[in-house]
């Protein structure tokens, strides 16, 4: 019986400064296969479609259930999570390339530390560290929890930034994910102690103002975060904070 094969093309790069090339693979089909498991097959038998032996593909992945945010890559031209990119639902040859707006480390592994830097810049945390016991936090009503929960679903995959026309070298835009986290932590009864600092941070160069409202972020987000709503709300808060600071100066 002839084995069913799948065609996959991967944009490869041996290091940050190395040139990139496309490499084609033909691998045996298995039921329920996704792009990550296809690359696991390649790792098990690293031979490309012209029969040459090659190296396994380097990529980030972890949970394989779209919750860790590691395996974002551009698959058939769209930024998405590789673990939920099911082979049976993709047009072949499946073309896989690294996220285009983040520096390539190797093959499909990219450096997404800019998001970490941005989250730090807006203090995206609840400040509870101290030298004494602060006691139990304030109550969060279920209504507040329901509003905050969708925002807490962010997996830091960077898809929203990859698809954003404003997220690029020229603007240095902070991206939707960070803005959504500002809304999340500003709405938290303990987290909002840093609200003004977060809003002032977001009024800096590359802040909320760079959003062009193309709304790609909300379309691409694998976790369906209400990103445009967050951008709208946070921009209003940043504007009001800027006006307050101007009048109180």
């Amino acid at each position: 019986m002839a084995e069913k094969l799948i065609q996959i093309e991967i944009k490869r790069q041996s290091g940050p400064d190395a040139p990139s090339t496309w490499e084609r693979f033909e691998i045996p089909w298995k039921p329920g296969m996704n792009v990550i498991s296809a690359m696991m097959e390649i790792a098990a038998n690293p031979v490309n479609s012209s029969g040459q032996e090659t190296t396994p593909i380097a990529y980030d992945s972890n949970c394989l259930e779209e919750i860790c945010g590691s395996c974002a890559m551009v698959i058939n031209g769209k930024a998405r999570m590789a673990c939920t990119a099911l082979v049976d639902k993709l047009e072949q040859p499946i073309r896989v390339q690294p996220l285009t707006k983040f520096p390539v480390v190797r093959d499909l592994a990219v450096d997404r530390s800019v998001l970490f830097e941005n989250l730090k810049a807006v203090k995206a945390w609840v400040p509870v560290d101290g030298t004494y016991d602060l006691g139990s936090g304030p109550r969060i009503f279920p209504q507040q929890q329901e509003a905050a929960y969708p925002l807490s679903n962010c997996i830091s995959c960077c898809c929203c930034m990859e698809v954003c026309p404003q997220f690029n070298d020229a603007t240095g835009f902070v991206g939707a994910a960070t803005i959504a986290q500002v809304k999340l932590f500003n709405s938290h009864p303990s987290g909002k102690v840093l609200k003004e600092e977060r809003l002032r941070a977001l009024a800096g160069d590359g802040g909320v103002q760079e959003c062009g409202f193309a709304q790609n972020c909300v379309q691409a987000c694998p976790k369906q975060l209400p990103l445009t709503e967050a951008i709208s709300d946070v921009t209003r808060d940043v504007t009001l904070q800027a006006a307050k600071d101007f009048l109180r100066a």
């Binding site: 690029n168 020229a170 590359g206």
Partner: protein, 263 residues
């Protein structure tokens, strides 16, 4: 690890890519918000005034001349022109081009409606930019000066639109400008936090679309007034007396006496 110096974003092993947020630094927030606001007030308000004034052309050359005369009789009109039109418009145009040039449209990869509108807002902006420069130079600063000769307004525009290429430019620019303004209102509401909800944005989108269509139809109708059959070959100046009737002439005798006294 706690004692180690925090590695700078740019000294990371890869150290390239998009720069992180410059928290609290720079003035781009103010400049961008001024750009956004100036598009609504005063430029958007002026656009509506301009389209309403043009609509008077449907009533004929005299009504159009009266409207031009009325606008030029507004108090501090030259100040209004420079302070509320030229300067905000120049700022909106130049900063807008700067914004557009820094965006990297990706509609080919992500052909979603919002993304299309993002790109269209930039292209209609470019069209408006080029069109308005020639429009201001040719209609405000070249040929008959309309503030002094409001009666010549209809004829001046009619001559301009008699060139079919220019007519095409006006039609395209009219649609582009109305598009840019109506989507601009929608963007303003979305970005300033007036319509954060998806449903609110959709509803407001219909409203803005309706406004855009109404403005564009009004604009195209006034273009038709100049090129249509109703007012063909309008006279050079429908208010030729305007410049002469400043004051009644003093009696001739008195004038003679004056001259004699001075002599």
């Amino acid at each position: 690890m706690a004692t180690a110096a925090r590695p700078d974003a740019h000294s990371s092993p890869v150290g390239r890519g998009v720069e992180p947020l410059r928290a609290g630094k720079g003035h781009s927030f103010l400049l961008r918000k001024l750009h956004s606001l100036s598009g609504i007030v005063p430029i958007g308000a002026f656009l509506i005034e301009h389209l309403l004034s043009n609509f008077e052309a449907l009533k004929g050359p005299l009504a159009y001349a009266e409207q031009v005369k009325f606008l030029n009789s507004l108090p501090l009109v030259r100040f209004l022109e420079v302070g509320l039109i030229f300067i905000p418009l120049a700022y909106h145009a130049l900063y807008g081009v700067y914004i557009a040039l820094r965006g990297k449209a990706n509609v080919i990869y992500y052909p979603w409606s919002g993304n299309w509108m993002y790109m269209m807002q930039r292209w209609t902006g470019y069209i408006a930019f080029v069109y308005i420069i020639q429009h201001v130079i040719r209609q405000r600063f070249m040929g008959v000066s309309l503030p002094e000769h409001p009666g010549a307004a209809f004829h001046k525009v009619q001559m301009e639109l008699s060139n079919p290429w220019m007519l095409a430019v006006y039609v395209i620019a009219m649609i582009a400008v109305c598009w840019h303004f109506s989507y601009g209102i929608w963007l303003f509401a979305a970005k300033w936090g007036i319509t954060p909800g998806a449903t609110a944005r959709r509803r407001f989108g219909y409203l803005c679309a309706a406004l855009g269509v109404i403005l564009a139809v009004m604009g195209l109708a006034s273009i038709y007034a100049f090129v249509g059959p109703n007012y063909k070959n309008a006279p050079d100046d429908v208010m030729p007396a305007q410049t002469r009737l400043v004051q009644p002439m003093p009696p001739q005798a008195n004038l003679t006496v004056e001259i004699e006294t001075h002599a």
